[in-house]
Symmetry: C2
Subunit: 456 residues, 2 copies
Amino acid sequence: MSKEIPYKIYLEEHEMPKQWYNVRADMKNKPAPLLNPGTKQPMTLEELEHVFCTELAKQELDDTTPYIDIPQEIQDFYKMYRPSPLVRAYCLEKKLGTPAKIYYKFEGNNTSGSHKLNSAIAQAYYAKKQGLKGVTTETGAGQWGTALSMACSYFDLDCKVYMVKCSYEQKPFRREVMRTYGASVTPSPSMETEVGKKILLEHPGTTGSLGCAISEAVEAATTTEGYRYVLGSVLSQVLLHQTVIGLETKIAMDKYDIKPDIIIGCAGGGSNLGGLISPFVGEKLRGENDYQIIAVEPASCPSLTRGKYAYDFCDTGKVCPLAKMYTLGSGFIPSANHAGGLRYHGMSSVLSQLYDDGYMEARSVEQTAVFAAAEQFARVEGILPAPESSHAIKVAIDEALKCKETGEEKTILFGLTGTGYFDMYAYESFHNGTMSDYIPTDEDLKPGFDSLPKMD
Amino acid sequence: MSKEIPYKIYLEEHEMPKQWYNVRADMKNKPAPLLNPGTKQPMTLEELEHVFCTELAKQELDDTTPYIDIPQEIQDFYKMYRPSPLVRAYCLEKKLGTPAKIYYKFEGNNTSGSHKLNSAIAQAYYAKKQGLKGVTTETGAGQWGTALSMACSYFDLDCKVYMVKCSYEQKPFRREVMRTYGASVTPSPSMETEVGKKILLEHPGTTGSLGCAISEAVEAATTTEGYRYVLGSVLSQVLLHQTVIGLETKIAMDKYDIKPDIIIGCAGGGSNLGGLISPFVGEKLRGENDYQIIAVEPASCPSLTRGKYAYDFCDTGKVCPLAKMYTLGSGFIPSANHAGGLRYHGMSSVLSQLYDDGYMEARSVEQTAVFAAAEQFARVEGILPAPESSHAIKVAIDEALKCKETGEEKTILFGLTGTGYFDMYAYESFHNGTMSDYIPTDEDLKPGFDSLPKMD
């Protein structure tokens, strides 16, 4: 007889993962290396540690070590807000009338409101250990900046956040959370950096962009003694830290003999999806088990479903290394979608390679359908989801309704990355019927593709 | 050897309480009965069920049954977001350098952001069971309204919220959360009720008050077929439902052989404090155990520390029954303190009687000191606390620092009722140094005391 599944499965402290899992070690086709944008040669450790903390640069380059110890200090911090619950969505199943069994791993129950804290604390730890004074970063919607502020506050590190100006002005709450944790928050573009001054001279009225904020943060890090730059997604080191999500999920599921048939996650830069699926993909890569894996992205920013697999700049300022990824081109300007965390032109190199090799599929979904799914979920499961997370909810509901038609009792697992408390303007526009469903035409995508670097 | 205490203690589902505890049953001096404001006679069941659901009216009057079964449907809903964690504040202890052991019961990890959901779901359940179409209520800061919206959505009940107009305009996020859960939210005073029209005629520019919103909600409930009025605090039925907080805490502590020396909670209408302390006070009343219990209130609205123990109106509109309580008088206008949930002129009759009988003490604290404690707590414990909850944090830190001086290893327990995500304007004014510390003079208190009803 199988054990009765509780509404929420929490691991005990002694069951929590003590190592991260590096899925690259099990990949036959390794993700392509980061390239120096000038020489087009693979970035060396020496080059990377100019920008990143040394230990993190090593993790970025390491595609052979399958398990990497989680330092005790990070494990201790994880205990403050982890394990996150694996929730059986009994109420949603009942509402849908589906024979499918739905589970979600909920990462929103911490003050940063999302999974971002898992990597922020790791990056802050290595920065502190290296004896640095502080770190710099950029933030758009603010989830990453909030998470990093919390992590830096814990380790008593300076935290300098360049926040896209329009978010700085429109999202004062996020800004104040960061200030509560002692971070300095600068609207970008600013007069504090050369690149910021240049952009302000050329475009005096600009409200900023993520690409510009990245450039400012990198410049601030590389020109200030004792500082390094940190990033919340896309990089392989970030995916590595985020595997704590998937590892906890796997342990909890194994404990109750649950095997997911379908695993679903939203994908912006790939940090959450990569973290959730890594241990499952590892089994798939080693031929031990099979899972259907679905990456969900906004129809307005469809890097996997409509992008090209090519080397590209990670930032619009073109100061970062080149990464091979599914991309719309760094010159692509995403529309003002409310899922700010998914408005990125590219995708993690690890996920791009897995997708190209057929280990996962991808779907794009439209905004109002996503908010309708979010509201349906909120009303029965209680949790008010972030717009980003709601992309995964939408596809999970779609799959559960397919099971209702076919009668299949599939087990569906999805990642619920965060809460939407700071996204109520988006919900308001959904309620008021003013939300749009922009899908770029092929013509709209052209400038992005034209911006791809020539690699000859 | 005592067991090692984890950072967070979660009960398993089968350990969760199946009954609420009615502390009135163990009180020798019962709380004074509610009185009909016209006849000054105790309210009968018949009178109460005109306004409240019948089962809730019975719970309001029942001061003899010690344990009351939690209906299975409510237990199922509790499983969606409970048990809430009992957290050992290791990081705060370390930061303070105190030998005290600090625990907090954290009620903020649900979308309503606070403990209010514990009673909202119970009240919605009884309304549904009675075959009602819907319920009405008022909300100020919006935590109660949000919780009730969630509960009504779950049971498919109409939910009509009268929201104090200035909050409606200044807190659009809370309003949108309620709308997400399908509630109708009306700025109060409105033209929908007689009392609203009357007030708007007399004071055309008014931004509303809680007292006025209560009057509108009661009128709407009593003049609309199939509706009743529900309330989020003060009433004994609410305290009863909130004992799930204290019961879970007690079970978790007993499991690890922990006995608190001091128990601390913030007190507005008393719902959280009453819920947390009830099982402990029960032992105190029965002479089985002793605990120091501290109610914390804002210096700007000091009902316990500077109020009178007297019969008073529960609302400024004077339409509700009279309750005997520690009160500043329904005519007292609290200043614009940021802890909206603590800006109530009175206090639960149960807590008032316990306080009068010496079973608990009370302290008042000033606003900027509260926010300083909140920020200190957030930085080490990760959680961004609500201003209300931070009153308890302030006194817990004070007590822990006393232990540091004396070397005593006291065990301190406090209630962390909710999160401050929707209170960032308050944090902003703290950061900007524009927060004030208003304490009413005796002269300021006089109009409130003068408004107390003559009881002859």
